[in-house]
């Protein structure tokens, strides 16, 4: 099993969700996050005061999937979250040791 964590531009969420649903991904967790990469931040000005906003708002989406889905899922996120401009985000893939469904106690790939 794999755990995919992707940082995307907030307005791309719907497209990413649609592509993941189409691929048969059964659940997604979304978190509002802030951070910086190559895009860096921007400057805001309030009368005389200038503030450099170093951390930009992004969304982090997390999915747990079967090994066989990995290639399609990474490809799906890559396509649906792409604008071609700096700041599109990154996809991180981890090995997933175990999954347990709390309600039934099932574990392993059946719990995905």
């Amino acid at each position: 099993m794999k755990f995919v964590s992707a940082i995307i531009k907030p307005f791309k969420l719907n497209e990413v969700r649609e592509s993941l649903t189409a691929l048969g991904v059964k659940g997604v967790t979304v978190t509002e996050v802030k951070g910086f990469g190559r895009q860096k931040g921007h400057t805001e000005m309030y009368r005389g005061a200038e503030y450099v906003i170093e951390f930009l708002p992004k969304l982090k989406i997390e999915v747990a999937i079967d090994d066989s889905q990995l290639e399609q899922v990474v490809e799906g996120i890559k396509k649906s979250a792409n604008t071609g401009k700096i700041g599109d985000g990154k996809i991180f893939v981890f090995d997933l040791e175990q999954v347990t469904r709390i309600r039934t106690g099932e574990s392993g790939p059946e719990a995905l």
Binding site: E44, M45, Y46, R47, G48, Y51, I53
Partner: protein, 470 residues
């Protein structure tokens, strides 16, 4: 037939009484001639009083509230709300009497403590001979001015002062700075006292110090804005900078609130400026129009200057420009022509933008919400430009001579000298009173909350509540 005879004799009797009565009436008119308030004027002044209230709560409260961080939102709303209420009560207890009764050139007397002797039939003078308004309406119209002015100061030391210290300072400043400056600039015997040169001279001797100096301030550029701004600037120095100032982001938490507040200020200001005419007539119309135009002009000039210099036209800039224009046109609105108001507005937007940038850096104080940069700079600019554009040769109204009953000859140089007297006296008086008042409060209550409390935010620390819940 009998009925007709009775009727005719009654008519005769009535006519006879009327004939005699007219003679008496003429005599009485010459002696008393007590003018009666006009219903239109009275209605306008009641509406104006409400408009100035709206400027403060919620106008000023939201304008300031949006500019602080969300953890201090309620503290700002609460300070404005409470200071408005506090000054309203103090005004009735002794404020009106000290500001608007005859005393010396600096303070009035105590004859109208608790509005003593003012009944529904009492009248107050306007700027026209023989025209009066109910004194109760006048007293409460002025009350709203006395209540908004101390609230303006709050922006300078926002986000760090103890609530108890705020209230203690305001009581001292209201009593020893607002009341005497209002008396100095605005107290006079009224136009009806100026019957001839000798009477005029005698009446003038009872007026406030700056009134005697010839300073003109239609709606309170000096009394309200310069006065409050100096107290704010001294406060920013005395209370000290906010923890993290210049290092951490202190960006406004809701410019939406600030924009709503600025709009309520703009609308309410018509009561402030046009209401200061005390009569619903053409001059009120001029003050109204000047206020509308100067504000729009200042919003534009701030916006475009910011766009050129900083690259982007900001909403906060437009709202700040509007307030700068309102401040600058306040002393001028009933004295200058439409063209003068346009110039005042355009200049206010540009010069106050400098006030919150270059000047602010030069002064080095953490005047959190730019009370001095907008109200101080705008107030002084307005006071000076009033002296220039009041000139009838520049489209102004000129200064009316109540003895000669015509507009007097106008000299810009003489008027500017009078205006400088008003500015200088207010800076010095308000500055010294503020310095002493802050010091007294610091020694007794302490001005600031602790650093830990400041980081936590005044809403929970001082008021036990938060503005927003996720």
């Amino acid at each position: 037939m009998k009925k007709i005879i009775v009727f005719s004799s009654l008519m005769l009797a009535v006519l006879a009484v009327m004939a005699v009565g007219t003679g008496f009436a003429e005599e009485a008119a010459a002696v008393v001639a007590a003018p009666v308030p006009n219903k239109g004027d009275t209605a306008w002044m009641i509406v104006s009083t409400l408009l100035v209230t709206l400027m403060t709560i919620p106008g000023l409260a939201l304008f300031y509230g949006g500019l602080v961080r969300s953890k201090n939102m309620l503290s700002v709303l609460m300070q404005v709300f409470t200071v408005f209420s506090l000054c309203m009560v103090l005004w009735v207890i002794y404020g009106y009497s000290v500001a608007f009764t005859e005393g010396n050139a600096f303070f009035g007397g105590f004859s109208k403590i608790l509005l003593k002797g003012i009944t529904v039939d009492s009248v107050a003078a306007t700027f026209s001979k023989g025209v009066v308004i109910p004194e109760l309406v006048y007293a409460f119209f002025q009350a709203t001015f006395a209540a908004i002015t101390p609230a303006l100061i709050l922006g300078a030391f926002a986000e760090r002062m103890k609530f108890s210290a705020v209230l203690a300072f305001i009581v001292l400043w209201f009593s020893f700075a607002y009341l005497p400056i209002a008396h100095m600039v605005w107290y006079w015997a009224g136009p009806d006292a100026y019957t001839d040169a000798a009477a005029g001279e005698k009446a003038l001797a009872t007026a406030g110090f700056l009134f005697q100096k010839g300073a003109i301030d239609f709606a309170g550029g000096t009394v309200v804005h310069i006065n409050a701004a100096i107290a704010g600037l001294i406060g920013a120095f005395m209370v000290g900078k906010r923890v993290g100032y210049g290092k951490e982001s202190m960006a406004p938490h809701s410019l939406t609130m600030t924009m709503i507040g600025a709009c309520l200020l703009w609308v309410g200001w018509f009561g402030f400026n046009a209401g200061s005419n005390l009569e619903a007539n053409g001059l009120a119309g001029l003050a109204f129009g000047n206020t509308m135009l100067a504000t729009a002009a200042a919003a534009l000039s701030w916006t475009f200057t910011e766009w050129i210099i900083k690259g982007k036209p900001s909403m906060l800039g437009a709202a700040s420009g509007a307030v700068a224009g309102l401040v600058a046109v306040t002393p001028a609105c009933g004295w200058v022509g439409i063209g003068g108001a346009l110039v005042i507005g355009l200049l206010a937007g540009i010069i106050c933008l400098w006030g919150v940038n270059g000047l602010k850096r030069m002064l080095g104080a953490d005047d959190a919400l730019d009370v001095f940069g907008v109200h101080g700079v705008g107030g002084m600019l307005g006071a000076i430009l009033t002296g220039i554009f009041a000139d009838p040769a520049l489209g102004g109204v000129g200064v009316y001579d109540y003895v000669a009953n015509k507009v007097a000859d106008y000299s810009i140089a003489t008027q500017l000298t009078s205006q400088m007297w008003a500015i200088g006296t207010t800076i010095l008086w308000s500055g010294i009173v503020s310095l002493v008042a802050y010091k007294l409060v610091d020694m007794t209550i302490g001005l600031r909350v602790t650093e830990e409390e400041e980081r936590e935010g005044l809403d929970t620390v001082s008021h036990g509540e938060s503005a927003y819940h996720n």
